[in-house]
């Protein structure tokens, strides 16, 4: 029987999906240990306590709510001190943070305060005797490492999306706490939050890239590519060197040896033959889809899925299908 600590991340007064993931992962560990408790730390500006119940839905037995005006934005030093203090006093077997930007910022500081080591960006975790055994994709995802944490508590950051949040509803008890150190005394403070949305996704960041080549025949036809990107919702538009050289797209959109090198989750190559110059910039994408009229086009050699045919004809159909698939969720 072991109690597990989870850090419940919130932003702008709302819980983030990763908060449920950490709580849910903690729940699973606690259950596997023979039924310990899950204690979640929720910090933020006044009013954040209202979110506690939601954490109960995913298996938190206790929600420690730290409300303070100085915690409206992330205040890593105050949070680290508060979390470390609580973890130490709570006698937890493990503490789970998300491997989000905030969790990666916070967890190592907590670990160092507690004088224990931690494992970053884990995808699975299980208790094994006194230790916590985790797996973690290393070497750019080309190697899966299994690590053993023998310190106590065992601290990890959990890769977002690595395990789905599973509901395990219960009535969470709410405990109030105060920050251990004065947020105003922190040496590093957030001056401004820049909330995304509206801004065009950069091809370096976008999880999906929809990219067009000379097979699109004209600059005007890139409208079809943009439509597909919009249908994905999280896609950026890329292009081949031939296309940017012809001025159909700006040079900054070029993907390839002499342009940007990208590795999105999904790369859709439209009317791209697959010259080495281009392939060198995108072949590390996780999934590659190619549409080209020439069945012998080299792009099909690197693609996971291919459709042979006229890209102009196929694009509207694909856009509609993607829209539909996404609306279904």
């Amino acid at each position: 029987m072991a109690n597990i600590f989870a850090f419940a991340e919130s932003r702008g007064g709302a819980l983030r999906r990763v908060a449920f993931e950490t709580v849910s992962a903690a729940r699973a560990l606690a259950d596997a240990s023979g039924g310990g408790e899950v204690h979640a730390l929720l910090a933020g500006a006044a009013g954040v306590a209202a979110l506690a119940a939601e954490l109960g839905k995913y298996g938190a037995d206790v929600v420690i709510v730290v409300e303070h005006a100085g915690l409206a934005n992330t205040n890593v030093e105050a949070l680290a001190a508060t979390a470390a203090e609580r973890i130490k006093s709570g006698g937890y077997r493990a503490a789970i943070f998300s491997a989000s930007a905030q969790g990666r910022d916070l967890a190592p500081r907590v670990a160092a305060k507690l004088g224990v080591s931690m494992a970053g960006d884990v995808t699975t975790l299980e208790l094994a005797g006194d230790a916590l055994v985790v797996t973690h994709p290393a070497y750019a995802g080309k190697v899966i490492a299994t690590l053993k944490l023998t310190g106590s508590p065992a601290i990890v950051t959990l890769r977002p999306g690595a395990r789905a949040a599973v509901e395990a509803a219960r009535e969470a008890r709410v405990e109030s706490a105060q920050p251990v150190s004065d947020p105003a005394a922190s040496k590093l403070v957030v001056k401004e939050m820049v909330v995304g949305g509206g801004a065009k996704l950069d091809i370096g960041d976008a999880p999906v890239i929809v990219s067009g080549g000379r097979g699109l025949k004209s600059a005007e036809n890139f409208k079809l590519v943009e439509d597909l990107a919009a249908a994905f919702g999280n896609a950026a538009v890329g292009a081949t060197r031939a296309v940017t050289d012809d001025g159909w797209r700006p040079h900054s959109d070029q993907i390839g040896q002499t342009g940007r090198q990208v590795s999105p989750e999904l790369y859709v190559a439209l009317g791209i033959s697959g010259a080495i110059q281009h392939v060198a910039g995108m072949r590390n994408s996780r999934t590659i889809v190619a549409i080209n009229k020439d069945k012998d086009a080299p792009i099909f050699k690197v693609a996971d899925y291919g459709i042979v045919g006229d890209v102009i004809e196929i694009l509207p159909v694909l856009t509609a299908a993607v829209k539909e698939a996404r609306s279904k969720g």
Partner: protein, 689 residues
Amino acid sequence: MRTENAVFLLVLLLAVGFFSYNVQRLLGYLSIALPDDRGGHPLVRLKNVITVAFLQKKILRDPVAGPMHALIFWGFVVLTAGTAELLLNGSFPAFSFAFLPASLYGFYSVSQDLFGALVLGAIAFAFYRRLVLHPERLEGDNLGHSDALLILGAIGGLMVTMFAVNALELARDPDSIIRAKPLSLALSMPLRALPAGLLTGAHALFWWTHALLVLAFLNYLPYSKHLHIVSSIPNVYFSNSQGPGPKGVLRFLDLEAENVEQFGAADVDQMTWKDLLDGYTCTECGRCTAVCPAHLTGKVLSPRKIIIDTRRRLMEKAPLLVGDRSELAHHALVHGEGDEGARTATEILEHRLLDNFITEEELWQCTTCRACIQECPVGIEHLDHIVDMRRNLVLMESRFPPEVLPTFESLERNGSPWAFRPDDRAKWADGLDIPTMAELVERGESPEILFWVGCMGSFDDRSKKISVAFARILQAAGVPFAILGQEESCNGDPARRMGNEYLYQTLAKQNIETLTRYDVKTIVTFCPHCFHQIGNEYPQLGGNYEVIHHSTYIERLLEAGRVPLDTDDGKVLTMAYHDSCYLGRYNDVYDAPRETLRRALPIVTLVEPERTRDRGMCCGAGGGRMFMEETQGKRINIERAEQLLATGADMLAVACPFCMTMISDGVKAKDSDVPVFDISEVVASRLRT
């Protein structure tokens, strides 16, 4: 000796003395340069002088200006004898060539007249060409015409005064020993009626005019681009552009030399004396720039400007370095140099050739296609200048187009310009039963040839088909061969051409080590860059192998009847072959690929694009350009694809994987469906199965 002879002798000595002073001054400027051993192979060099300089081989490549210049040049050579006679005779009245046997003297006399007339005709045409026709290559690079017109005028004046002197002498004395000069004799006829006194006076006047014009001309040379009259013969002699040795081999850079702190050239005193002599020799004829693929597609690079700038900078800086304080040194000493007002010595020394004269942009636009060197009639080697400055940019200043960085890094880490996994190098050969050297050695076998696949053949999906095609031909012909597989890495050519000699030598040494370990003797490759680099440039690093391009190798196999081909005639096809620079201009392989196509397809009609063989135009990929953006002007590959499509061919053939990429892209950009094949693919498609 009469007074006037003595006066003339004095004038002559002064003129020759001043000319000599200038020559030694210009030679002195070469002392700021780096050494370069250009001494060996005197017979080859002499042969170059005879064919290029005296027989005007390169000059005559231009069907219009060629004969014009050749006539002036040959006239100049012939008439020099007459000029010598005249100058000596002026100083020592007793002197003449009359001591020669009558027939020889007669021949000499006739030749003077004849060439005098031919030169005059050529000069008249030259004026017409420059003033009326305005050929494009004589324009640009901020060049004026005054220097050229002055020289043409002077030569014309020399001819006119020569004829006047001769005609007047014959008018005075129809029995003169020069009566064998037919034109002068004819001109003298109407003059005979004039009074003797007038004839004598006019003769003296024209004689002095002619003689002084000769001496003025001589002394004008060091102040003019026409210095080439003096410098082109040594420049051709010392040039490596026609051999000795393989063409286009870049200078070796000793990176381990003690106390060397400058690699490459940023200024004239970091160049070799041959580079500077190139500067003295350039006549600004523009043949180089007129064929430059970068220039032709609207880019700033002009190989002529590179050479002129070298000279301008030399004339500005060298006097300061050699301590030449003469007033003359501060003036325009050779036409066109940068007299940009009263610059102080400090300012001049703060400036340098790179950046202040030649921009980085110009240097990176070069495809190293060698067309400029091929055309230059006076043995200038533009690429030495360009690559040396690229070397300085990369090795000293780490300056290069940003998109080149992945290429350098990948060459370093992965042994290929693209970041592909080295262990995927032989993936194209999966299931084809092609052994690696390591496997053969394990079996205790050694192959007849090593098939050097190259990075394109290993990683580019289009070129992999060429690898397969060539391997199938070798297998069909029963040639025992092997590949290096993972042990192969880039030959280093792109790094070397982009000035990264350090990276180049690292790659080359590693390859040489591998090749030595397997005791490789014969290498066959379908990449002309691998072919040139390993065959012609690896010897600098101690790697000596027989390297054969697949076009030559396949042709030999076909000739020996070793390749079982379909016996039908195949389809009726019109095909245009595009010459690769590194195969053609660098290595003179022009016929083998064409012959291979003819043998594979007996009824093929080979058509030639307008620019072909040693005038062929680059695809745009050489010199590392494959790995750079082409942002200025028209894209070179499109220009070349247009030229090839203009032949109306049904199919285009190449013999280089880089040309394949560039030409295919160009053809696609023209929305054309004309297929592009490597010659080996054409042969493989005809293999009897």
